[in-house]
């Protein structure tokens, strides 16, 4: 079955071009041209991934992103023409998993999409523990004291990557490669923002993290279980 991508972009030419390229690469696409209709379209079409332009008429891309993220962990890749840290971080903080900067090459975009759609296929029952958090890897379930915690697939992948090698310190570059699928070092802001988001969900006190611990000057590691 072909993965379905929802394209939210107000520029008709770009939207059409994206459709052409994505179809050529083996995806099904649906296009929404304004922010107000994006959430409804998401509910109707149940896409596997959303390509979201941040600059939209009507409801802004950031709001769309937040709204969708509130009800789903569907991978969201934002398209942005803005390169300033503030804009990128704002987008990531509102829930986007990754971003692609305009102008991008088709290959770059499809690589990003594939990386987000690629699911770690673990057949065997694998149960990980970090601090007081339990991770059921094949069941995509994270619980603390029996209470489930809802994570997006990306956050789940990030947590699993850290939890599988509890003693290893992961640099941001390594995490970018393992979780986001970047071949060469890219924007480490991605890691920072998502670690913050992950912490806000799984830590008892995000100011004093126990599950995802910062190793100053190096990166992150899983907390002691």
């Amino acid at each position: 079955m072909r993965p379905r991508v929802l394209v939210v972009d107000d520029d008709p030419a770009l939207a059409e071009m994206l459709t052409i390229v994505l179809r050529g690469e083996g995806f099904d696409t649906a296009v929404v041209r304004d922010g107000a209709r994006a959430v409804d379209a998401f509910r109707d079409s149940h896409p596997d991934l959303i390509l979201l332009d941040l600059m939209l008429p009507g409801v802004s891309g950031l709001d769309v992103c937040k709204e969708i993220r509130a009800e789903s962990g569907v991978p969201i890749i934002m398209l942005t023409a803005k390169t300033d840290t503030v804009d990128v971080v704002l987008g990531l903080e509102s829930g986007a998993d990754d971003y692609v900067m305009k102008p991008f090459k088709p290959k770059e975009l499809t690589a990003r999409i594939r990386a987000r759609l690629r699911r770690s296929d673990t057949g065997s029952a694998e149960l990980l523990r970090v601090a007081d958090v339990e991770i059921d890897v094949p069941g995509h379930q994270v619980t603390r004291a029996g209470r489930p915690i809802s994570l997006t697939p990306l956050e789940f992948d990030l947590l699993v990557a850290l939890a599988r090698k509890p003693r290893q310190v992961f640099s941001r570059e390594v995490l970018l490669e393992q979780v986001w699928g970047y071949r060469h070092a890219a924007d480490t802001r991605l890691v920072n923002v998502h670690v913050q988001r992950l912490r806000s969900k799984i830590e008892k006190d995000p100011e004093r993290p126990e599950v995802v611990v910062t190793v100053r000057g190096v990166g992150y590691k899983a907390g002691v279980s």
Partner: protein, 582 residues
Amino acid sequence: MSALAEDPAPAPQRLARARAAQRRARWGRISQAARGGVSFWSRSLRLRVLVLTLSTSILVIAVLGLVLQQQITDRLLESKRDAAIAELENALGVTQSQLSNADPEETSLQSQLLNVVNVLGRPVDTGAAQGGKAGVFEPVVATLRGVSVTAGLWSDVPAELRSKVSEGTLAWQYTSIIREGQQGAALVVGGPAITGTDSFGVFLIFPLSGEQRTIQVIQRTLLVAGAALVAAMTLIAVVVASQVVRPVRRAAAVAERFAAGALEERMPVKGAAELTTMARSFNGMAEAIRAQIRQLEEFGRLQRRFTSDVSHELRTPVTTVRMAADLLHAERKQFPAHLGRATELLVDELDRFETLLADLLEISRHDAGMAELNAEPTDVRGHVESCVTAVHALADRVGVSISVEVPDDPVIAEVDARRFERILRNLLGNAIDHADGGRVEVEVADGPESIAIAVTDYGVGLRPGEAGLVFNRFWRADPSRQRQTGGTGLGLAISLEDARLHGGWLQASGTPGLGARFRLTLPKVSGTLVTGSPLPLRSPAHREGRDDHLDPHDDADEHIIDPVAVRTEGARDRDPRAGIGR
């Protein structure tokens, strides 16, 4: 009494004169000290007011004091004199009646004169003290003709006065007498007492010790009062000066804050009329300047905003074109040859266009002061090597060889790796473009507070004056020159901004026909400013070959970036050098 003669310098006056001289000497010392501190003098209004007030008030009070003292002394002596003369006339009458039948025989005359002196020296019938209003006196009586017979202290009577009296006139004179071992001033009045047979001189000596004491008291009082007055005036002057100076200082502080960029800073309009006028004028000026600056800032902001917006707005269509071009490019094998080539050109030029867009955006970010420095301690040798490796293929294609000279030890500095590599790539690309197939040398040096990287080529070089122009946007030494590296014309301008963002320098030097050299100097600690570079700006090879007829001001070509301008936020836009050719 008009015939009365006068001693040229009565004692109290001499005293006053000596004091005046002393004061003059003191004033001389003060003025000398003032001359010594001319620089402070001209700077401190308070000091000037203090010294001027002090000197003027001392002068005025000294003159006043002298005049006053003179007046009092004169009045005092005058009344003494009048009383003394009245006493003398009385004494003359007594003498005349006593000596009307004097025996001219010497010894009896002597005793008669003594008798007169005794009578004169005693208080007459009144119970009052001897001398009455004129005070105590010592009478002296002497014959004026024939044998000299005297009674009383004849030696204390000045000879001049004796001769005047012998001529038949009433006269007076000041002299000095010794009483009880102490010298003192005295007034001597004398007149002739003519009897039927003979004439006698009667002299009354009035010691002036009482008057001297009075004058001394007056002098002391005047001195104390004068000093108090001078002190009071000085104090008032200093207080007033302070009151003038304080608002002036406050105004200066406000002006300084305004100059430092606090454009909302205003002077409080209160106090003296002059000050409120000044405050109002200043505020008016400040308002005008602020409006002007705001307007210019607004223009600048709009301009930058426009550049940024254009760059952003262009990105969406470029993305579409890019995707379409890549799609075509992937299928170009199926096209006829000319369409295939066209597709290739389309994709290549799109790359260039995208680079230009990215550069425009980057420079607009620098212009807007939005560029961020992510400095981390880095061994720059690694970045130098990787940048050189990255341009090797390009250098080979145009036949340029690149040699790298790096220290064996790590060269650590807090740099923003992305920006640092961008500067290096731009310098290398620029050098390769202008090396004319020669060689390019890269040197790295480690200094105490800074690191430096120099990129030297041996190509066309720079003409005098061009070293400052190379950093201008879209500037080309030779418009016909082909760019090998596909540079956008913004590379060096962005590199300069990147270097400034680090607090460092990016400078160029060159000699026509021999080559050019670019030197990047960055501080080791982020946030500090570069003060010197471990590498020379001018390549020794370029220097050796310099012709003598070259511009003697060639060193002015060295495009030195004012470090101060880097630190002050927004000052870049006001730096006149930064604005050249934009």
